[in-house]
Symmetry: C2
Subunit: 198 residues, 2 copies
């Protein structure tokens, strides 16, 4: 076997199957949005049993996060955020966000999502649906009715940091250490998440 | 004359000339970056006298801002920001930023710059050079050595707001009134520009 056949064999290996599902999912999410995309249609397009999707990705939410390569599953981020006292929630979020941007693997995923969102309206639309359905709703249940606005403000600062520091590469941010960034951002997040907003 | 010839006549009108210069400038900035792009080469490419560039755009800085369609000339923004007492500088910046995003014309320019920066590395690179040379340097002279980091932090929140509110269109931000946004953002900018950062 001089070259390994890719995605054309009858019995694809595990990673090929996973990949087939992700490609089918991305196409379905782009075509139909988050809510209307069905796991059944994705399984059909990928030519796999629907149970395999649950096996690999747990849920539609997990599948989406992986398909658009989110750097972290938002439910996971939310649980890390809520695990500790409220007085330091801003610092926890700052450390989580800066940590995602420090690790080359998660940073590249985050920048990829930002690039896709900025250039493809259907990705922006699907991401919005996902965030509103799976993240802000859950946050509201945990943190109260103000939570969606609070998290959205914090998210805006995080994506802005990613863009200014890692896409435009503004020197004062690109040269700042992780600790400097955490200290600059923590009070912002603390107020967005727990302080008076108006 | 059934159809009006566009950009092919020997004696183009004023708006055509302006447009020719902008196109030549965009190409030069993309190819050579902000610093190395020369007004002489741009005039040559556009087939116009170099004095016309000064006439239409004032300076290389003005030409760049117009060529990449910045929603406001940064020197102008900086002067508006500094015109008033320091205790309300955060609110002034919040009003300026929210105002740019409320006006459809300036909003579209801002979103266009963000889309270009996110998808074209050479635009990101040229914009960085421009900001560092023309904006952060001037800010440092006016506001002290910490100014570049302070303005870069504020800029990151502004572009993040534009992206989250107008590209992803997160509902809690898209539905917030201008006044709500100003109140949410003003203390962030106040601290970034004048408060302790670490």
């Amino acid at each position: 076997m001089p070259t390994k056949p890719r995605r054309s064999g009858r019995r694809p290996g595990l990673s090929d199957t996973r990949d087939l599902i992700l490609r089918a999912a991305l196409a379905q999410f782009a075509a139909n949005g988050y809510e209307r995309a069905s796991l059944r249609a994705i399984a059909l397009d990928a030519g796999v049993d629907q149970k395999l999707i649950a096996h690999y990705f747990g849920s539609k939410r997990g599948l989406f996060a992986e398909a658009i390569r989110l750097p972290i599953e938002p439910a996971e981020l939310l649980s890390q955020l809520l695990d500790g006292d409220q007085a330091s929630i801003g610092e926890r979020l700052a450390r989580l966000a800066v940590g995602i941007l420090e690790d080359p693997a998660t940073r590249e995923r985050m920048l990829g999502v930002i690039r896709a969102v900025a250039s493809q309206p259907e990705v922006a639309h699907t991401l919005r649906e996902f965030i509103e359905r799976e993240v802000l709703g859950a946050a509201e249940a945990e943190l109260g009715e103000d939570a969606p606005r609070r998290l959205a403000l914090a998210a805006s600062q995080i994506v802005g940091l990613a863009l200014a520091r890692h896409i435009v590469e503004l020197v004062p941010l690109a040269q700042a250490s992780s600790e400097q960034l955490v200290e600059a951002l923590a009070p912002t997040f603390q107020r967005y998440l727990t302080g008076p907003l108006d």
